[in-house]
Amino acid sequence: MTAAAIPAAPVRARRPWVVHSILPGFGLSLGITLAYLGAIVVLPLIALALRPWELGLSGVWHELASPRVAKAFRLSFGLSALAALVNAPLGLLIAWTLTRYRFVGRRVLDALVDLPFALPTAVAGIALTAIYAPTGPLGRVAAQFGIKTAYSPLGIFIALVFIGLPFVVRALQPVLQDLDAEVEEAATTLGANAFQRAFRVILPALAPALVSGVSLAFARAVGEYGSVVFIAGNLPGKTEIAPLLIVIKLEQYDYAGAAAVGLAMVAVSFGSLVAINALQLRLAKRGRA
């Protein structure tokens, strides 16, 4: 923090490959990091990236240009973004409640937040379907108002909100905990009202964590399969998500086609994560300024 206060050198010199650190063990740590990431992340991704091209460029394009794939992508990415955005204010509220107030049962609530992480996704899907199906307790109420919950895009949205919530809450909690109450007190003594405290003091400090939580929730939701297939209804062109399309293609032994859809999903997800990261960096800089 103090370093930021010192004006940086006006001419940016060429960035060196490695900034010398007084901590020993750089070579070993980096070696293990690279080997581990290589084996766990990069290798499977390379296998995925190589697979579709046995169809040829036009084959891959043909695979992705079909209206069914386009529709599944719109559904998966659209609903995932929507679910992540809905989780932003609600996750913020939950994180705020859990860190700023002390009350009986707080720890239980805190543990409950993690449940969507821990529950096998199929179990979550079956439980959600039981509740939101036309015969379930909530689904019946919704049906009286003419709203179809399970077996509709709304059902998919509900499942994605469920699995995304912990990402937002858990990203915000440590930042909220570190945010000293003194900062707010200082703002108050300087004449800030509640609105200014929330939007000029607290939110800018939280913004990077909020963005990262929302982007994690989004990324997770895009790939979610287990819980969604139970509640979705899976009708082609209506409630068929992109991961299901991959499973269907595999079921037809169409490995290359499945890989093409998978690769396209990775590309879109990776693109959005990079964009979100850039946004987060800008927010972080503004928060510090």
Binding site: R68, A130, G136, Y151, G233, N234, L235, Q252, D254
Partner: protein
């Protein structure tokens, strides 16, 4: 306090005896190490093969003295076939569709392409068919295939792309449609039928849950044996309706030559598959609501299975390869039904 000493000695002696027991047991068992056999099967056969495996292990021990440990693996037929292709060391496969075993032969070359002619009856020791499961009292009056396309009837069937059972159901429906006058009417019939399908489950059990527990739809297109299982489980809430005609579903079995030769289990695996045709196993087949092949079992369970005209996939569709290409491949008829007009 004085009693503490002797009682502790008794306890020690007891503990010693307990400790020795497993050692003795292990020494006694060490001689014939059980030989493992892996049967990779599809979803609804779990209960059937549990019984058959126990019966075969007893039979084999009596004949050869070898102790067997038969493992079974269940899942969607296509998924199971992919696992075998990707290297799961199965000795035998017992799947829902011949097409899935064809893929194993074509892609992994674990068995010759003519595998289906190596055992009697197209390598299918038991058969089944597709029937209708309706709610108690049959409130919508569903008797036959034409009733399924009436407005307001909800039909539950899994996605034929992901479920072996659903492929048989789809083909049974199509075979009825084709009798209306060939490809055009059949296509119309299938389009109307799938308009009445509110949910496409991933597998047979999935669809059964949707129908039986979520109370969705009026009729479930089901494996005959699954329909009987649902009756056993949910009792009086449902009824089985036999349509005027259906399809002869032949779930085949096969030995994986390359795997059994590597694992040196060819003799046992061959014995296992032949055992499936024996009177003992055929009786278990009937007990688990599959249609047996062997005479005595057929006679014993004749009353349980209603005899209706059943078309075979070879007669009506020219075999699995043609049926897959015409109906289930990418862009084939099933996809066309769902293409937005």
């Amino acid at each position: 306090m004085t009693t503490a000493f002797p009682s502790r000695r008794v306890m020690l002696a007891g503990a010693g005896a307990l400790g020795a027991a497993p050692l003795l047991g292990r020494a006694a068992l060490a001689a014939p190490a059980p030989i493992t056999l892996l049967n990779v099967s599809y979803d609804p056969t779990r209960e059937l093969y549990k019984d058959i495996n126990a019966a075969f292990a007893a039979y084999w021990k009596g004949r050869t003295g070898q102790v067997l440990d038969i493992k079974q693996s269940h899942g969607g037929s296509g998924k199971q076939a992919r696992a075998v292709i990707d290297g799961l060391q199965a000795d035998v496969v017992t799947l829902a569709l011949a097409g899935d075993i064809d893929e194993i032969a074509a892609r992994a070359k674990l068995l010759p392409p003519n595998w289906q002619s190596r055992l009697p009856n197209n390598s299918t020791p038991y058969t089944s068919t597709i029937v209708f499961l309706v709610r108690k009292g049959n409130p919508k009056g569903i008797r036959d295939w034409p009733d399924l396309v009436k407005p307001g009837v909800g039909v539950i069937t899994p996605n034929p792309k992901t479920s072996g059972g659903a492929r048989w159901a789809y083909l049974a429906a199509y075979a009825y449609g084709a009798k209306l006058g060939g490809a055009g009417p059949a296509r119309d019939y299938m389009t109307k039928l799938f308009k009445n399908v509110p949910v496409l489950g991933a597998g047979a059990r999935d669809a059964t849950t949707t129908f039986a527990q979520r109370n969705l739809g009026d009729v479930l297109l089901s494996w005959e044996n699954e329909a009987f299982l649902t009756l056993e489980e949910f009792g009086p809430n449902f009824e089985i309706v036999y349509p005027g005609s259906s399809i002869l579903a032949e779930p085949p079995v096969a030995l994986l030559d390359r795997n059994v030769d590597r694992r040196k289990t060819r003799v046992i695996a061959t014995g296992y598959l032949n055992f499936l045709y024996s009177p003992l196993a055929q009786d278990l087949v009937g007990k688990h609501h599959y249609r047996p092949r062997e005479k005595a079992a057929v006679a014993k369970y004749a009353a349980a299975f209603k005899q209706i005209p059943l078309v075979t996939i070879d007669q009506a569709f020219g075999g699995w390869k043609k049926a897959t290409a015409a109906h289930f491949a990418d862009g084939a008829l099933f996809d066309q039904i769902y293409r937005p007009a």
